[in-house]
């Protein structure tokens, strides 16, 4: 489905986002922007609020407060906003009783895709991710990695302007990870945008143009890797070191290792 959108508006605009689960505040006033042609990495320790933030962007969670816009459109414009994005959830649970063929047919129908437009793309993606022999195998019978690949194909099927990926490389083999990384780079080179969360610092360092570090629901650092180095006053530190410094976990690591060894 083609949706009119403001090309000058940022693909993702988040201001003062708050997400609550009952009395627990999972995301506490997070603000950031993803620009066109950019891969933005959302980093943070487990339970920091990354997935909650991404779920708000996809319409899966309602925020308690804050302003969120996708290409200048508010999230209340649900169908139009969701038409412009492709999403891979952290925990890939698809419809187990369907086959990838049936599942993708469902997704393509909801997205109003035409068969002649979707076939060449589907053919290429299935071949690239080495999924051809599983096209008619029930999803329940696929390995975790292959389920992840089906979810990635479903997210890329309609060539969305914005890709929202929650730990997309988890479970993928080296070959498929490489393919996906190349696809993401190609996607942004054409003006698309990507926001993804990851725990793999090397990937974030190599792939992301900018990163945002969330800790306990708050944005504790944002910028390019070089910019973050300046922020933590370290000239050569890796993103992992920067991450540990920013999230105040660096000292803790040594203490915990010593305690474990003792």
């Amino acid at each position: 489905m083609l949706v009119d959108y403001d090309e000058h508006a940022p693909p993702v605009f988040v201001e003062g986002l708050v997400v609550k689960y009952g009395s627990f505040v999972a995301v506490d006033g997070v603000s950031f922007t993803v620009k066109p042609g950019e891969i933005y990495g959302l980093l943070g320790p487990n339970g920091a609020g990354k997935t909650s933030t991404l779920k708000v962007l996809t319409g899966l969670l309602k925020p308690a407060s804050g302003r969120v816009e996708i290409f200048g459109r508010p999230l209340s414009d649900e169908v139009a906003v969701k038409s412009m994005m492709g999403y891979v959830p952290e925990e890939v649970i698809l419809m187990d009783s369907l086959t990838p063929r049936e599942f993708l047919e469902f997704v393509a129908s909801i997205r109003r895709l035409k068969a002649d437009m979707v076939h060449p793309r589907l053919e290429k993606l299935f071949s690239a991710f080495q999924l051809r022999e599983y096209f008619d195998t029930p999803i329940a019978a696929l390995s975790k990695g292959n389920k992840q690949k089906v979810a990635v194909v479903a997210a890329l099927l309609h060539e969305p302007q914005l890709l929202i990926l929650d730990e997309p490389l988890m479970g993928l083999d080296a070959f498929s990870s490489k393919i996906l990384k190349e696809l993401l780079t190609f996607h942004v080179s054409k003006g698309g945008a990507v926001i993804f969360s990851t725990h793999i610092m090397e990937v974030a360092e190599r792939l992301c143009m900018r990163v945002g570090i969330i800790n306990r629901g708050r944005m504790v650092g944002e910028g390019t890797v070089d910019g973050l180095r300046k922020l933590v006053k370290s000239a050569e530190g890796s993103l992992e070191e920067i991450f540990l410094k920013v999230t105040e976990q660096e000292a803790g690591v040594q203490e915990i290792v010593k305690a474990l060894e003792a």
Partner: protein
């Protein structure tokens, strides 16, 4: 490990299976999103456990009530005491068999698919102990109905006939029946999981095979339903059969067991040939039960260790799909899920099957002095019951949206499209049941066909309105998300919209009968029916158009 430790461990595995039987397809749904996540999930686990226990108790009560009814109705019929005992025990055993298979099918698939041993095998527990834990867990799943049948039936027999050997024989028969029921349930679940859920391919043969397994799956359920509807007729039929075909019946299960119990009670007066045949055949069934038990233990342990076949790989020539409009996409997805999920399939098939069963048990077109101008009195209850079943469909179909919600929720699916798809599918089932009713009417009361067709046709508008009202109400109740958990667990969410939907559907019928009573004119009654149905339909369409 000693038995008490193993029994304690088996409770942990059992709780996991119970949780999975309610939530297996819905992980990644709305579980952690509403309220305080941790509390919410603890509540869900408890609620699943309570619901499961309630199900077991209900099954035990069903066995007692329906079984008892069949059992004592044999005594009430004017029959020799020998035959009454044989008939009563045989009917009772068939009810226990159907009930246990039905319950087993609902739960055993969760056991088959849960990979329960995955978290047990890495622990320092021997394989032998893991097997024991799995077996104990399997017993826990069925404990209440198993124990209820073992205690209640022999006791009821002992009290009715005052015979301890007879009661002990009934006890043995119940145990044999329970073994058969569990073996059948596990066999069907295993086949269902490996052939339907995990089997791949897209050929017509595969589709036929899937349909066959689905029918095999739901047949016991409807047989049980028929047994409860036909209980009285069944006993009468068996009275005739047992008198004329005694020799042949003594060879067949469960009659052989019935005759054996009767023989143990009245052994002095028994025909020696029937006695010999029933003892011989019962011994054979005992041997078969012993073999089934051995197979059952092996299979349960095997399933626990993940011996279910992996999915097949099929090289496809062309990677192609056939997308359609969004409402059709949702409808096809629902049908595909239903074709692989016995619980959804049975809900879809229920209105039609209900009509068939009720038309033979309760529909007497010639009763009550009905004429072709007026609807026969029995038509209305039949119609109302069928409608109750049809109106369960919208909540059930809406509930499928919670499957894989963590992904599906991100798709650009508008509310209007969703309501439209669910309405079309529910309406199709209503029209199918109406068609079946018309065919039955054509066969049993041809004079009423035109009235039924007119009534059912006009009433379609009201049915559409009720379905839309129901879904709109449900989507308001849920807000943005669909509740997690299956239909049965979250029934309290659905009950109010279901009742309101039913009231909406009943209004035109009420108007029809009021007009008929006040004016004694069929034409005016129909005018009232048409006017109210169309008015409801228009309001519902307006409601639908207001949705995005």
């Amino acid at each position: 490990m000693n038995v008490s430790e193993l029994w304690w461990l088996s409770k942990k595995v059992y709780r996991e299976i119970v949780f999975q039987s309610f939530f297996s397809l819905r992980v990644g749904g709305t579980l952690p999103q509403a309220g305080d996540a941790e509390k919410n999930i603890v509540q869900l686990v408890r609620s699943a456990e309570w619901n499961f226990m309630l199900n077991k108790v209900i099954f035990a009560i069903f066995i007692g009530v329906f079984g008892g009814f069949t059992f004592f109705s044999g005594v009430l019929l004017e029959m020799d005491r020998e035959l009454a005992a044989a008939c009563g025990v045989s009917s009772m055993l068939s009810i226990v068999l159907f009930m246990m298979v039905f319950m087993g099918l609902q739960v055993a698939t969760s056991f088959v698919s849960s990979r329960v041993s995955e978290f047990l095998t890495p622990l320092p527990v021997s394989s032998k102990d893991v097997s024991k834990i799995l077996l104990m867990c399997f017993i826990r799943i069925f404990d209440v109905p198993l124990v209820a049948a073992i205690l209640i039936i022999p006791m009821a027999y002992g009290i009715s006939y005052g015979s301890i050997p007879g009661a002990l024989t009934v006890l043995l028969s119940v145990v044999i029946t329970e073994v058969f029921a569990l073996a059948i349930a596990v066999f069907l679940s295993f086949s269902f999981y490996s052939k339907v859920v995990k089997g791949g391919g897209r050929s017509s043969l595969k589709t036929l095979l899937r349909l066959f397994y689905m029918l095999v799956w739901i047949i016991p359920m409807f047989l049980m339903y028929a047994v409860t509807s036909f209980a009285m007729q069944m006993v009468s039929l068996m009275k005739t059969l047992t008198q004329s075909l005694s020799y042949l019946l003594t060879l067949l299960y469960p009659f052989s067991m019935g005759f054996l119990a009767s023989l143990a009670t009245f052994f002095k007066t028994y025909d020696p040939r029937i006695a010999a045949l029933s003892v011989g055949s019962s011994l054979l069934y005992l041997a078969l039960a012993a073999y089934s038990f051995k197979w059952l233990v092996k299979r349960v342990v095997g399933i626990g260790f993940g011996s279910v076949a992996a999915g097949s790989r099929v090289e496809v020539k062309e990677i192609s799909i056939n997308p359609g409009p969004p409402w059709l996409g949702v409808l096809k997805k629902d049908l595909r899920i239903a074709s692989r999920s016995p619980s959804y399939f049975s809900i879809l098939a229920m209105p039609v099957i209900q009509i068939i069963i009720f038309s033979f048990t309760s529909f007497h077109p010639d009763a009550g002095g009905a004429s072709a101008e007026f609807l026969p009195p029995m038509f209305l209850p039949l119609f109302m019951i069928s409608l109750l079943m049809v109106l369960i469909l919208p909540p059930a179909l809406l509930n499928t949206e919670s499957i894989a919600y963590s992904y599906v929720g991100s798709l650009p699916l508008g509310r209007r499209t969703l309501i439209l798809a669910k309405t079309i599918l529910s309406l199709t089932v209503y029209l199918a049941s109406l068609l079946v009713l018309l065919v039955i009417t054509m066969l049993r009361a041809p004079g009423f066909v035109s009235v039924f067709a007119l009534f059912g046709g006009v009433f379609t508008f009201s049915v559409v309105a009720s379905i839309i009202f129901e879904i709109v109400l449900l989507s308001r109740t849920f807000g943005q998300t669909i509740p997690s958990g299956n239909l049965y667990l979250k029934f309290y969410y659905y009950i109010l919209p279901w009742i309101l939907g039913y009231i909406v559907a009943m209004i035109p019928i009420l108007v029809y009968y009021m007009a008929l009573l006040l004016t004694a004119s069929f034409v005016l009654g129909m005018v009232g029916l048409v006017a109210t149905s169309i008015l409801e339909f228009l309001i519902a369409v307006l409601l639908l158009l207001r949705k995005k």
